[in-house]
């Protein structure tokens, strides 16, 4: 791997539709069209100026096989280089980033969306991701994986379920300042502790609920951005990695994928001490404990220390290391493969200073991280700087 590629690729436009738990009046195509129009307007470009497109989707979540068939039209991408990455939006950003670095492309759009409300039984879809021979015959609700992992994490790092509940309280309160967060609320630790158990020690309020939305991000090379007189949010590092996919061989207490992805991104960004260099984080919190686990894996604190930071309020929006000032997935909703891309858009707004009431003061650099969900062990990271 070569050293720093910083300041060669930036984000010049973001657009998204409000996250909403139900969207009966609009198709995914209409939502993607909306997000694309907003992103292209934000970037000040016509769709015809975009040279390549990346969409992020999984067939089963769409209920359509070979879903990439249905991606081009609403992006203005017909008869252009378009391809799908079967992963979260940050993987798509990494794919676009690499394409620009080849020198063959200047402007690339990345799209991801969620139409979770169309899925009749999302847990059944999740369970279809389990190994068909070893795991599926157990007939367990896939959330048992989260429960087991949370128990192991809490045990190894001496974190209590109350600490995890604090994450829920923090993020859903942060979401109160977000204009579009459907799950914003003022909860107490007791409310979380009283919610029904899904898989001990995981409770209903520990898990992010699904939501609908579409997000489009436009990337540009530095030279093209200069020509267009744009002030991009620079992508100074990307990283992605996978741990063992089988339940039997993975390490349950430690998310190796986040460690490796983070290390790759920091190395690329030339950050020796990410704890100091990063001003705020938008990281995966699709389950409450995941925020703490990922914070430690990304090297933002020592192992077992995340709960202490949380208790001291360091990860609040006005703390020394704000985590998920947007409200995270717990507040904004779990947007399937768009989860990471929404947070990239969110980080861009923070870095541009356009985040309104949720603005982190003086934010110059942010880290975005996503995880692909149960039972996957893949994660991606992007480091953004202004």
């Amino acid at each position: 791997m070569t050293k720093s590629n910083s300041h060669k690729v930036g984000i010049i436009g973001v657009g998204y539709t409000p996250s909403t738990p139900l969207s009966p009046s609009r198709s995914y195509k209409e939502m993607v069209f909306d997000a694309a129009v907003r992103a292209y307007c934000d970037a000040g470009i016509e769709f015809s100026e975009i040279q390549s497109f990346v969409s992020c989707s999984e067939d089963f979540l769409e209920g359509t096989s070979i879903f990439d068939e249905y991606t081009p039209d609403q992006l203005g991408a017909a008869l252009k280089p378009v391809h799908t990455i079967s992963a979260d939006g940050i993987f798509g950003v990494a794919a676009a980033y690499m394409q620009i670095l080849t020198g063959r492309f200047d402007i690339i759009a990345v799209e991801a969306h969620s139409k979770a409300s169309n899925i009749v039984d999302i847990e059944e879809i999740d369970s279809l991701a389990l190994d068909p021979i070893y795991n599926r015959p157990l007939g367990l609700n896939p959330h048992f994986i989260l429960g087991l992992e949370m128990a192991r994490f809490c045990h190894e790092t001496k974190t209590s379920p109350e600490d995890c509940a604090r994450v829920v309280v923090k993020n859903r309160r942060n979401a109160l300042d977000h204009p579009f967060a459907p799950f914003a609320s003022n909860l107490s630790i007791k409310d979380v502790a009283r919610s029904p158990v899904i898989s001990e020690p995981l409770r209903e309020l520990d898990v992010a609920r699904h939501s609908d939305g579409a997000c489009v991000v436009v990337l540009s090379s530095a030279s093209a951005a200069k020509k267009m007189k744009k002030y991009p949010v620079w992508i100074t590092g990307v990283g992605w990695s996978s741990d063992a996919p089988s339940l039997e061989t993975r390490e349950w207490g430690r998310p190796l994928y986040a460690e490796l992805a983070g290390a790759m991104a920091f190395k690329m960004a030339g950050m020796k001490n990410p704890r100091k260099a990063i001003d705020f984080l938008e990281i995966d919190d699709t389950a409450s404990y995941k925020e703490l686990q990922h914070l430690e894996a990304l090297g933002m604190c020592r192992r077992g220390e995340a709960k202490t930071l949380l208790r001291r309020g360091e990860t609040q929006r006005d703390g020394s290391m704000p985590v998920n000032p947007s409200g995270g997935s717990l507040g904004l909703g779990h947007l399937l493969e768009a989860t990471g891309l929404y947070r990239v858009a969110e980080a861009c707004e923070q870095l541009r200073g356009f985040a309104g009431r949720r603005q982190v003061k003086g934010a110059k650099s942010g880290l975005v991280m996503s995880w692909r969900g149960i039972p996957a062990t893949s994660g991606a990271v992007a480091v953004l700087e202004i």
Binding site: F60, T64, T102, L128, P132, S241, A244, P245
Partner: protein
């Protein structure tokens, strides 16, 4: 931007129903490719996976399931996807991994296990259509390709017997390929007498469903020079996705293949493809598709592909051999794996290592192409024994 070379390749046997799981098939192909390059998994910095619909295996997030088989454990691992075009897209994805300068060595693995789909893999294709406008009609793939084949024949006044020559040629070519599922010596008459599936598509016009996997190793120039004295360079890549509304366009010509080909030729500095491409692996899941794609690739004039086929130009010893591997009609069609098999075939041909399948005259430049989705996507890779000429040409 570093130039990118293919330095190793491996393909498992293609068969109707393999005993191995998808993970095991991926492992076998990856191992073969690594062995051929003299590398171990430790040397690999990133892995790209290509595999077509999850519905074949009934597995959500199939890429995640396959990742340890493909060697993606603990590494940057990404699954790209453009339906049937995936097999030739995966190496393009590998190309940008290396050409970006982020990685020096990248493993590309493509796997397909269609046999787990019961009673027949065609069932999975019932779910590829638009849920509102098309699925209620109950279309299947053979049905829409019958439309396309008919349109192609009608537009240019082509006879079924002209098209059947492709099937005869490819199945015969496959006799020399150890991985082939359906190598056979047949006549045009056999094709015309085979069972009608959806007129004008007959049994011997179409490739079988298969299980199999293929893999290649890509390296930057710096590393490739150290590891091999016979690197095969990726000179140009192109891909293009047409509108989802396939019912709105004329099916007689694959304009998306032309777009992709022009992008790849531009990058490779190829001005006269008919003269400069010495050996070609066009995508041939149906016999007429090879002809269709030769035209889309600008390797012959529109409507002229049947004539050059009849003249023997595309035979293995012809001027422009097409599908010397035996193609999908002869080798089988494990969707993503078959596209990468075509890349491997050009790799062997350019290295002069294709054995009995070797085309004469020391080819300098070859092309592999795949097609996919609803008559929608073209993916093209131009490869050569020389490094690419036209540096820095932007995609359009």
């Amino acid at each position: 931007m570093p130039d990118v070379a293919i330095i190793g390749a491996g393909t498992t046997r293609f068969m109707r129903r393999s005993l191995e799981t998808g993970k095991e098939l991926s492992y076998e192909a990856a191992k073969m490719a690594l062995d051929s390059a003299g590398l171990t998994l430790k040397d690999i910095q990133a892995v790209c996976m290509g595999t077509a619909p999850d519905a074949f295996d009934g597995l959500h997030m199939k890429g995640e399931y396959l990742l340890d088989g493909a060697g993606g454990f603990g590494k940057p691992y990404m699954r790209g996807y453009v339906g049937g075009g995936t097999g030739v897209f995966a190496p393009i994805q590998g190309w940008y991994h290396v050409a970006s300068g982020l990685f020096d060595i990248c493993l590309v693995v493509c796997e397909e296990k269609m046999s787990s789909c019961q009673p027949h893999p065609q069932g999975a294709f019932l779910t590829i259509f638009d849920h509102t406008t098309e699925r209620p009609l109950g279309p299947n793939l053979l049905w829409i390709f019958a439309l396309e084949m008919n349109r192609y024949m009608t537009t240019y006044g082509i006879q079924k017997k002209d098209i059947a020559l492709v099937s005869v040629k490819n199945k015969k070519n496959a006799m020399d390929n150890p991985i082939a599922q359906l190598p056979m010596e047949i006549t045009v008459d056999d094709v015309l007498k085979s069972e009608v599936l959806a007129w004008p598509v007959q049994r011997l016009d179409v490739s079988p469903t298969s299980d199999g996997a293929a893999a290649i190793v890509l390296a930057s120039e710096k590393v490739a020079r150290k590891l091999t004295n016979k690197p095969v360079w990726i000179q140009g890549v192109g891909w293009s996705l047409d509108t989802s509304y396939w019912t709105d366009k004329d099916l007689c010509y694959p304009r998306y293949v032309e777009k992709a080909a022009r992008m790849a030729y531009g990058m490779a500095g190829v001005k006269e493809p008919k003269k400069e491409i010495n050996v070609v692996e066009p995508y041939d899941p149906f016999d007429y598709k090879e002809l269709h794609h030769l035209e889309g690739l600008l390797l012959c004039d529109k409507g002229d592909a049947p004539r050059i086929t009849a003249d023997g130009v595309t035979q293995r010893n012809g001027n422009m051999p097409a599908c010397p591997s035996g193609g999908l009609l002869g080798c089988g069609n494990p969707i993503a794996a078959s596209g990468l098999m075509k890349i491997s075939e050009i790799f062997y041909q350019l290295r002069g290592e294709a054995g009995k399948r070797q085309v004469p005259g020391k080819p300098l430049r070859g092309l592999a192409q795949a097609w996919g989705d609803l008559m929608q996507v073209g993916t093209v890779v131009v490869m050569g024994v020389d490094k690419p000429r036209a540096k820095g040409k932007k995609a359009r």
